[in-house]
Amino acid sequence: MADESYPEGLLYHPEHDWAKVDGETATFGVTWYAQDQLGEVVFFDPPDVGSQVSAGAAYAEVESVKAVSDVFAPMSGEVTEVNEALKDTPEKINDDPYGEGWMVRVRLSDPSEADSLMDVNAYKESLGS
């Protein structure tokens, strides 16, 4: 499991999801805190490519041996790519939550939603750290 970290340059959603915005598109995943709460991830159930995701709504599921958790979309848009590697190696969500553990790429329907997300300092503050 990775050491606790919250990279600069990402946008954070209160449900412990991150977005890396690049113009009209963004990559989503879950934060170190989320994977730590969940424990070892043994299954990632992705959305279909082409499906719509809405900011604040669940778009995928991650499961540990013991429990299921929803993954919430930090922003809205259409899924253009899912991280197929997580099908066989869902533990990458634990090992590298901001890198190889990315979950989906999305074509954003409203890039201005970024304004409602937290920067790294605000997110860390929300964790009480």
Partner: protein, 328 residues
């Protein structure tokens, strides 16, 4: 008992490959003694209590008059007229009340002994080797018990467990439990939590009361007919005599991705026909596994079923017990 210490999968693998130690002190105990003890337990417990040897152990269920299962239990014979029955924590009070209520007709004394024992389970292929380094006296064989000192503490050592691995369960005076825990965990036994206890028992299809067993199901439906000796006339035997079950508890495994969970509907031929009672991701098989009740027409191993996991239909197959078998 925590859900996990270091991680469910890691603890699970430790028990399958080396040794793990579980603190199962939440389990309850009832001590039954007196000249009528054997006849009394024969009346209450589904198995043939007269066949428990002097240092023996036996698995059975406790039934209501209608056959509904009140608990599943291990009973150890401590002496000719003395028995110790281990109860599930959530059922302990009800079990004890049930014992006490039926004791009147017998020359027997029933004692709630839950406060007299801590319980540790040492399980895994290396469990006996670790025990051997700390025991003064004989370790019991499978389904046997012995009195021995472990780490300097007088214990009832039982050759039983809930993991499908070899090992022992130790019934210990509470003030000696820490010494035993420290000695065994300090000598190669990994602490194991409730999470791995559940995945280990489910891989080998041991029932969990509250999931796979309940008052609404009888032992025949649950596949526990083998512990029901109807000719002993235990409470519930009458209801089970000639009983033809409509449903049966079956183990199953997913044939594609996904993880079944308790309460997921089971579909047979595309129609809802049952429900998952236990489900998890098997750390050894690396597939979703579970148990659930299905119509008896779908009980044969190989039968294709589907499980509705939060709206997604996951293909599965009824399997033989146990789902996991140690490589020879």
């Amino acid at each position: 008992m925590p859900v996990q210490y270091e991680g469910i999968r890691q603890e699970h693998v430790a028990v399958r490959t080396r040794a793990g130690l579980f603190d199962v002190s939440h389990m309850g105990e009832i001590e039954t003694s007196g000249p009528g003890a054997e006849a009394f337990l024969q009346h209450l417990l589904s198995n043939d209590v007269t066949r428990i040897a002097a240092d023996g152990a036996q698995y059975s269920v406790l039934c209501r008059e209608d056959g509904g299962v009140l608990d599943d239990l291990f009973t150890y014979r401590l002496g000719e007229d003395r028995f110790l029955t281990v109860t599930n924590a959530a059922n302990h009070e009800r079990d004890h009340d049930w014992f006490a209520r039926h004791a009147g007709e017998f020359d027997v004394s029933v004692k709630d002994a839950a406060g007299d024992y801590a319980m540790l389970a040492l399980q895994g292929p290396e469990a006996r080797a670790i025990l051997a380094r700390h025991i003064e006296g004989e370790a019991p064989g499978r389904m046997r018990t012995s009195r021995a000192r472990v780490a300097g503490v007088d214990c009832l050592v039982c050759g039983t467990g809930y993991t499908g691995e070899d090992g022992v369960e130790l019934l210990i005076p509470p003030d000696g439990a820490v010494a035993v825990w420290d000695a065994l965990t300090g000598d190669g036994a990994d602490p194991v939590g409730l999470g791995a206890r559940d995945t280990l028992r489910l891989e080998v299809c041991f029932h969990l009361y509250g999931n796979d067993l309940s008052e609404d199901r009888n032992p025949i439906e649950a596949g526990l007919g083998w512990v029901c000796k109807l000719d002993t006339n235990f409470i519930g035997a009458e209801a089970l005599r000639g009983y033809e079950p409509a449903d049966a508890l079956v183990p199953f495994a997913f044939t594609e991705q996904g993880i079944p969970r308790q309460g997921n509907p089971i579909l047979v031929d595309g129609s809802p026909a049952g429900e998952v009672t236990s489900g998890t991701m098997s750390p050894c098989l690396e597939i979703g596994i579970g148990m659930g009740y299905v119509p008896v027409t779908a009980r044969e191993p190989g039968t294709k079923i589907e499980v509705d996991v939060r709206g997604k239909l996951r293909p599965a197959e009824v399997r033989e017990r146990p789902l996991y078998r140690k490589e020879q």
